[in-house]
């Protein structure tokens, strides 16, 4: 099967949907493809949390203050051009969503903004109760339904970007999951909006389809990845008792609303000890994400963990009526899980949540490969070594919109030429699929998640990283060069094999970057190299794939010319 369009957008989360809307506005026809169902997969729908944006609705604010907080959280590694786009474009997009009736929580006639860690003031909008992601997904999908230039196609797994003889991105090769049929897509510009890589880890807060597809697609197309060592672990991911029907990171907004106390296994508060030592107590919310992750892990290692191996989070000091007001119907979901917050604390521990690294782009969101763009979490650079809470959805909207505009502009000025040869290598790969299974790809995925969790978590050593690299090489050999398949419609074996092909390459890029960075910064903590080393490491690392060879280079951090920003107390 062959399809043709002006712009192909890969991934239908917040970034991809925004990119499709803006590309259509720029005069392009669009195919919005998702391996899952439109608006259901990815990270956006899982984001029950807050959206950071300098609206100035709650208290006076300016995007430059938001930028200052974003850069501080990034520990010196942010590409200020991208961080600026995130912070400056944010208010416009959040107000656009408001116009489209997303239903941001309101108070006293204005959009309510909560105070999240790392921010100098209340800045985070949200939709009650824990509905931010689903509400945003539904609203954007609703807008798309009214745009005839955009064709939405679910169950379409993109296998590779197609490059023509001039090295220009001219479409992609895919598999129609429903039938197993290969599909070629001619596109004058292609946008990668596939999100991050949290599925590399056993416990994670994103979707099954977040295995870093877009990073692998970009690498194989000749684009570069930046900052791959920086995986954000969310400190208070739900651990125990078993909780289903809710996002595992759902506790955080309630901490903003009613307070919640972190306790170690001895029922002692401990956050202040780490905050004081790091002088990062902002007076409002004790620890930023990287420090809270550190604090909980240290307590567990010192033998002061909770029974399941994390920390307790207690709301027992909060009156029942206040809990009901803050949690709304979520109280009933908790009750269905046997959890009564007035009677028991729950257990939490760090969980893979977001990837700061990603595809290296310029300010038009071009990847360096002509006519290939990236946006959203798939892009690296805006958040440096640690992302400020609330910046994820803002990044999806602002970068998605910009990438969509850029792609439409390219379609008008310098469209790519499709050639059938561009799809040939990937069609050959798919033809080699075999139903003789030399291994179980689903089991190999589980092994990969285990090794990444144990050896490439937030706290790393050179030895563990070496061992992880050897494990990845072993799993790569077991995966082989020819796709394994069940030969059925909606082929789970082929899907797992194609995922493994991507996940192993992406895992390797994380491990080699983590191994090279012999210091501790933000989300990357080396137990064998504690502390910052600005002389050697105030640099970004960039990964490039040539053949099977994945190489790394150090590049200077882009910094804007000095500019004085005065922040009122």
């Amino acid at each position: 099967m062959h399809l043709e369009t002006d712009v192909l957008v890969i991934g239908a989360g917040g970034a991809g949907m925004y990119a499709a809307l803006e590309a259509a506005k720029g005069g392009s026809s669009v195919i919005l493809a998702d391996r899952s169902l439109i608006g259901r997969g990815g990270a956006t729908v899982m984001a029950m949390m807050t959206v950071a944006v300098a609206l100035g609705a709650q208290t006076p604010d300016h995007w430059e203050y938001h930028l200052a907080d974003t850069l501080a959280a990034g520990h010196g590694l942010c590409d200020e051009r991208l961080s600026t786009i995130l912070c400056e474009d944010g208010p416009r997009r959040i107000l656009e969503l408001e116009e489209w009736k997303v239903g941001w929580a309101r108070e006293d006639g204005h959009i309510k903004q909560a105070h999240a860690p790392g921010h100098d003031r209340p800045r985070c909008a949200y939709v009650d109760f824990l509905r931010t992601g689903p509400a945003v997904s539904k609203t954007l999908r609703g807008r798309l339904i009214g745009v005839p230039e955009v064709r939405r196609v679910g169950d379409l797994m993109i296998v590779d970007i197609a490059l023509n003889a001039d090295g220009v991105a001219c479409g992609a090769t895919a598999i129609d999951m429903q039938t197993g049929t290969p599909v070629t897509i001619a596109a004058k510009a292609v946008i990668i909006a596939t999100g991050g890589l949290t599925r590399l880890y056993r416990r994670n807060s994103a979707s099954f389809n977040m295995g870093g597809d877009g990073y692998a697609l970009a690498l194989r197309a000749g684009a570069q990845l930046i900052d791959m060592e920086f995986v954000q672990f969310f400190p208070i991911g739900h651990l125990a008792p078993r909780l289903v029907g809710l996002d595992p990171i759902m506790w955080d907004p309630f901490r903003y609303k009613v307070g919640g106390t972190l306790l170690n296994g001895n029922m002692e508060e401990f956050e202040h000890r780490y905050a004081d030592a790091n002088k990062r107590n902002d007076g409002q919310y004790v620890l930023t994400r990287d420090l809270a992750t550190y604090a909980i892990t240290q307590e567990v290692e010192a033998g002061r963990g909770s029974p399941a191996g994390g920390a307790y989070l207690s709301f027992q000091h909060v009156p029942e009526s206040e809990l009901r007001r803050a949690f709304g119907p979520v109280i009933d979901t908790l009750a269905a899980n046997g959890i009564d917050l007035t009677k028991q604390p729950i257990e939490v521990s760090p969980i893979a949540h977001y990837h700061m690294g990603g595809v290296r782009v310029d300010t038009r969101f071009n990847t360096g490969v002509p006519n290939l763009y990236a946006c959203g979490e798939a892009v690296g650079g805006a958040n440096g070594a640690n992302r400020l809470s609330g910046n994820g959805i803002t990044e999806a909207f602002t970068f998605g919109a910009r990438a969509g505009e850029s792609a439409a502009e390219t379609v008008r000025k310098s469209p790519a030429r499709w050639s059938p040869e561009a799809a040939a290598p990937t069609l050959d790969l798919l033809k080699r699929r075999t139903t003789k299974l030399s291994a179980n790809p689903a089991e190999l995925v589980v092994e990969l998640q285990a090794l990444m969790t144990e050896k490439v978590g937030p706290f790393r050593t050179g030895d563990k990283l070496d061992s992880a690299l050897a494990d990845v090489e072993r799993l790569t050999a077991a995966t082989g060069h020819d796709p394994m398949a069940a030969g059925t419609p909606y082929d789970p074996v082929l899907l797992d094999w194609l995922d493994l092909r991507n996940m192993l390459l992406v895992a390797k890029s994380v491990i080699i970057a983590a191994k090279a960075r012999t210091e501790s910064r933000g989300a990357h903590q080396r137990e064998d190299f504690p502390g910052l080393d600005d002389d050697a490491w105030l640099y970004n690392q960039v990964a490039t794939l040539k053949g099977d060879d994945l190489s790394l280079e150090k590049v200077p951090v882009y910094q804007a010319p000095p500019k004085k920003v005065s922040i009122p107390a």
Partner: protein
């Protein structure tokens, strides 16, 4: 603890079979956990949809469990036998996977396959 999942499997235009799988579990685990365990430990070809794992955000894992329409991600495993089948009112694609996307969000909106039985 073990649960026995009796899963209706098949492809369009072919007879369906009921396959039995023993899955270990601890109380609190879900049918989706069991299905994923089967895929990584016994049979990688078992087809079912899911995206968000256990948050009940993506709503992709709807199927018939013990005779009722349920989400696999929030239905708990229990000891003894449980039956699992694809949605009866949707076109079957394979095993527990049915065509649940609206027609205008599919590549092949008029897939010529019979309904699941």
């Amino acid at each position: 603890m073990n649960a026995t999942l009796i899963i209706r499997r098949g492809e369009p235009q072919k007879p369906t079979t009921d396959a039995r799988f023993e899955v270990p579990f601890v109380p609190g685990q879900t049918v989706l956990d069991g299905l994923r365990w089967i895929r990584s430990h016994i049979d990688p070809s078992l087809g079912f949809r899911f995206a968000c794992i256990n948050a009940n955000a993506c709503k992709e894992c709807m199927m018939v469990i013990d005779g009722g329409v349920e989400y696999a991600c929030t239905t708990r495993l229990h000891e003894g036998e449980m039956t699992v089948a694809p949605l009866p009112n949707k076109v079957l694609i394979s095993d527990l996977v049915t065509e649940i996307a609206p027609p205008d969000e599919r590549l092949t909106p008029k897939a010529k396959v019979r309904k699941a039985t």
